[in-house]
């Protein structure tokens, strides 16, 4: 990389980037208060905190996407006022967003080089850019056709494209805002290698993640935010994941996964037989018992999301579905919702919430029928439901009149969960339930899933995080390239076993 200064690969003492009394308010609400911390060349500095603690906001301030309300930002000891993301990029500060920011109609290569196309003055050199993009993506351990249109890629692939795009900019500080949230272990591993590489070349990395194990592995220092305030900055070596969790949440997080007894003999409630979703899933068959928590594991692109979307009628699919023994057909989601099956999309911004509408509107959207009195929507009842949901799901929001898009990522997930639970479903399919969710909230969501099962509802959890599948599921099905390739239950449930099935490659340990 073309880093202007290439200090020794060890962390130097002079801070590259420093904040003093940095604060940010949205309207009357101050979401960041007096943040003072620093980033040194050649270090990986992790930022952790609960959902809504202000991590993304802080990063946006550093990368010029937002302007601070108070306080200052110093680069190489010099106070600067960033005018925008482009200004920050020119100073070598680049940001991989938490949300995916790509132009959906353009190809991978076009996105990767957007705004800094290769070419002579006038024309662009597509061949060179395709090559460059292919290489950049391959460096991240993925193989994506550079000519593919981004809008048709899965979220994980888009995330990789976005990372590739940012890493092509000459950089001194790279900020990753939950880069691994939508990645599976294999891609995550590749990304962690890339990060180590960046550090080795002398640049600094700011790394946000809710996967504390990952933080422990990669970070040199850890800064913890809580409620917009900086709680502590420590050497990573001095902290265990549970310590981090404690600093974040402000209390002990003893046990992440709740106890949960699988009922002995379950009656089958949902039976899927030979179900195919064209281009994505082939001949899937499985049964779901009453009160069961069934996991779906697999690598990114295994077709789990599409299979579930096919089942609930969001995509055209073929095959037999039996509900309580009766064959049913779901030509659209409306039908499956009426049958008591809800599906929570992994893409909460694109498919889960109306970002430009308020919380109440979002909460009641799917179950609006319950809030109608006469012809009218009963707004009092709607407001009461919002209060209840905010309490029950612990949605952290300064004010109730925010728009859904102004909630932090994790709180959006909780709102989505609350929204779909309004339907009082018998079967819940949750796709990536804890993507981008802090550890404290995770604990709550797991508890909630187990509670659902305890109430006699059935839950399907699609997740790329194997520990959570193992932690809460009664049974895990593994998908590879669109097919269900195996099942692990009881004591067999281990990451190794799942990885073997998911990749089709025997790992050394397993062999």
């Amino acid at each position: 990389m073309s880093n202007p200064a290439t200090p020794a690969p060890t962390a130097s003492d002079a801070p590259l980037l420093e904040t003093v009394g940095l604060s940010k308010s949205f309207g009357p609400v101050e979401v960041l208060k007096d943040i003072g911390f620093d980033v040194r060349a050649g270090e990986v500095h992790a930022i952790i905190g609960e959902n809504g603690a202000g991590k993304s906001t802080l990063m946006k301030l550093l990368a010029g996407h937002l302007q601070p309300s108070r306080g200052e930002l110093r680069i190489d000891g010099e106070t600067v006022a960033l005018t925008g993301p482009v200004d920050a990029e020119q100073r070598g500060i680049v940001l991989v967003h938490q949300e995916i920011l790509l132009a959906p109609d353009l190809t991978v290569a076009q996105n990767v080089y957007l705004g800094r196309e290769i070419g002579n003055g006038l024309t662009v050199d597509d061949r060179a850019m395709n090559e460059g993009a292919r290489k950049a993506v391959r460096d991240l351990g993925a193989d994506i056709d550079p000519k593919a249109v981004v809008g048709r890629l899965s979220i994980a692939r888009r995330q990789l494209v976005q990372i590739a795009r940012v890493l092509l900019v000459p950089h001194r500080v790279v900020i990753f805002d939950e880069p691994t949230a939508s990645l599976t272990p294999i891609e995550t591993e590749a990304l962690l290698k890339v990060i180590a590489d960046i550090r080795a070349k002398g640049a600094a990395v700011l790394y946000i993640s809710h996967r504390l194990q990952e933080v422990k592995e990669i970070a040199d220092r850890v800064t913890v935010l809580r409620d917009g305030k900086l709680v502590a900055t420590r050497q990573a070596a001095d902290l265990q994941p549970l310590d981090m969790a404690k600093l974040m949440v402000g209390r002990d997080v003893a046990k992440l996964y709740p106890d949960h007894q699988a009922p002995a003999d379950r009656e089958t409630i949902l039976e899927v037989e030979d179900f195919s979703v064209p281009f994505y899933a082939r001949n899937a068959s499985f049964k779901l018992g009453k009160g069961e928590i069934l996991g779906f594991a697999g690598l990114v692109g295994a077709g789990r999301t599409e299979l579930m979307e096919g089942i609930v009628g969001l995509r055209p699919g073929r095959g037999t579905i039996r509900l309580n023994g009766e064959p049913v057909r779901f030509p659209n989601v409306d039908a499956s919702l009426k049958a008591g099956i809800v599906y929570l999309s992994e893409d909460r911004k694109g498919k889960g919430l109306l970002l430009a509408k308020d919380l109440g509107t979002n909460l009641t959207l799917a179950a609006l029928g319950r809030f109608v009195r006469g012809l009218q929507i009963d707004r009092d009842r709607e407001a009461a439901a919002l209060d209840k949901a905010i309490g029950e799901f612990d949605i952290r929001t300064g004010r109730k009149d925010l728009l859904a898009g102004q909630l932090s990522g994790g709180n959006q997930q909780k709102l989505l969960l609350a929204k779909m639970m309004m339907l009082d479903p018998g079967i819940v399919i949750i796709d990536e339930p804890t993507r981008g969710i802090d550890i404290g909230t995770k604990e709550q969501i797991y508890k909630f899933i187990v509670k659902l099962a305890g109430e006699g509802r059935s839950v399907i959890v699609v997740s790329s995080e194997m520990p959570e599948l193992i932690g809460i599921c009664d049974r895990i099905l593994v998908m590879r390239s669109g097919s269900i390739v195996g099942e692990v239950t009881g004591d067999e449930m281990s990451e190794d076993k799942i990885v073997v099935l998911a990749t089709g490659v025997k790992t050394q340990e397993a062999a």
Binding site: V333, D334, G350, K351, L353, L354, L355, A356, V372, K419
Partner: protein, 333 residues
């Protein structure tokens, strides 16, 4: 209850972000009224104002329907020719004499107009949703179809309501007054009130806004997106029919040029009223205000005597742009 506290900030916020968008068209209207008063002393006379508001009825009523279509993310360019088509068929039916009693005939004609309007709207809705054709193009196509059929029905001439009994009976629908208020003005406000109720208070209205805001989210929430969209076009068709029912007693006759360009006026009224063309929000009362603005601009042009008649179109265009600029600068904090 627990909401008392929450209600306050909501009010404040909405005052900042939302209400100014909603208020802006009314400010523009007020400015125009002042301008008009300078242009001609008769402008602010009750007679003139009632005249202007009365005749904005066609566009205002159609634009209420357009607010639904637009806020669900659609567009309907066919409304102008739909007016011609629906009104022509209705007049032809009333001329046909299949029912002897004029009153019964009139009632049947009204029902027929509503039915045809709804059917035309349904056709638009199905073509855009089932056919997956961009609304712009689908309704451009039906615009040609409706107008073509009208031309064919009229064989290039005019279609005129013949029965003088029906005419006499029907006349008050446009020219009558209730407590001094012309009937069309009452109709405008009734239609707008119904529209506002449906859009803001009912489940269907919520669904319309959700679909316009993000189609995927709506679909994943189990909202029957295509049905919701289709119904917006049916509502638009019904509004067109109501406009026709006022149009027939006023002009008593249609031809191939009836309603020419009204679609653009209706859309302009909606947008001047603060509704964004990309969908997701809809301001029924703003729309009504937008329709008044358009009509008043024309009225001022006519009453004032300093504008060359050749420049009328140019000035109208300029005023629309200025009205939008006023609105934007207000809405932008």
């Amino acid at each position: 209850m627990t909401d008392l506290a929450a209600d306050k900030p909501r009010a404040r916020r909405s005052w900042r972000n939302i209400d100014l968008t909603a208020v802006a068209p009314f400010v523009a209207l007020a400015l125009l009224l002042v301008l008009g008063a300078f242009a001609n002393s008769n402008f602010l006379s009750i007679d003139n104002l009632l005249n202007v508001i009365t005749r904005s009825a066609f566009i205002a009523i159609i634009a209420v329907g357009a607010t639904f279509v637009i806020s669900s993310g659609g567009l309907d360019l066919s409304v102008g020719s739909m007016v011609a088509f629906v009104a022509s068929l209705t007049i032809m039916f009333m001329n046909s004499g299949v029912i002897a009693s004029p009153a019964m005939m009139l009632a049947a004609g009204v029902a027929l107009a509503l039915l045809i309007g709804a059917a035309c709207g349904l056709a638009n809705g199905l073509i855009t949703t089932m056919g997956r054709i961009e609304p712009f193009i689908a309704t451009l196509g039906t615009m040609g179809i409706f107008r073509g059929l009208t031309t064919w029905l009229s064989q290039g001439g005019a279609i005129t309501l013949r029965s003088s009994e029906i005419q006499t009976l029907y006349r008050p629908a446009y020219f009558g007054t209730v407590l001094g208020v012309p009937v069309p003005i009452i109709v405008i406000f009734v239609i707008a009130a119904i529209g506002a109720f449906v859009l803001y208070r009912t489940r269907y209205g919520r669904h319309v806004l959700a679909v316009g805001s993000n189609e995927d989210v709506a679909r994943y929430s189990g909202i029957p997106v295509d049905r919701v969209r289709t119904i917006t076009y049916v509502i638009q068709g019904l509004c067109v029919a109501v406009a026709c029912l006022l149009y027939i007693p006023r002009l008593g006759s249609t031809s191939a040029t009836t309603g020419l360009m009204w679609e653009l006026q209706a859309i302009t009224a909606v947008v001047v009223g603060g509704t964004a063309l990309r969908g997701g929000v809809g301001w029924i009362w703003g729309t009504i205000c937008g329709a008044f603005i358009l009509e008043i601009v024309g009225n001022i042009m006519l009453l004032s005597n300093f504008v060359s008649e050749y420049l009328l179109g140019a000035i109208q265009g300029a005023i629309i742009i200025i009205a939008m600029l006023v609105q934007r600068s207000l809405a932008r904090r």
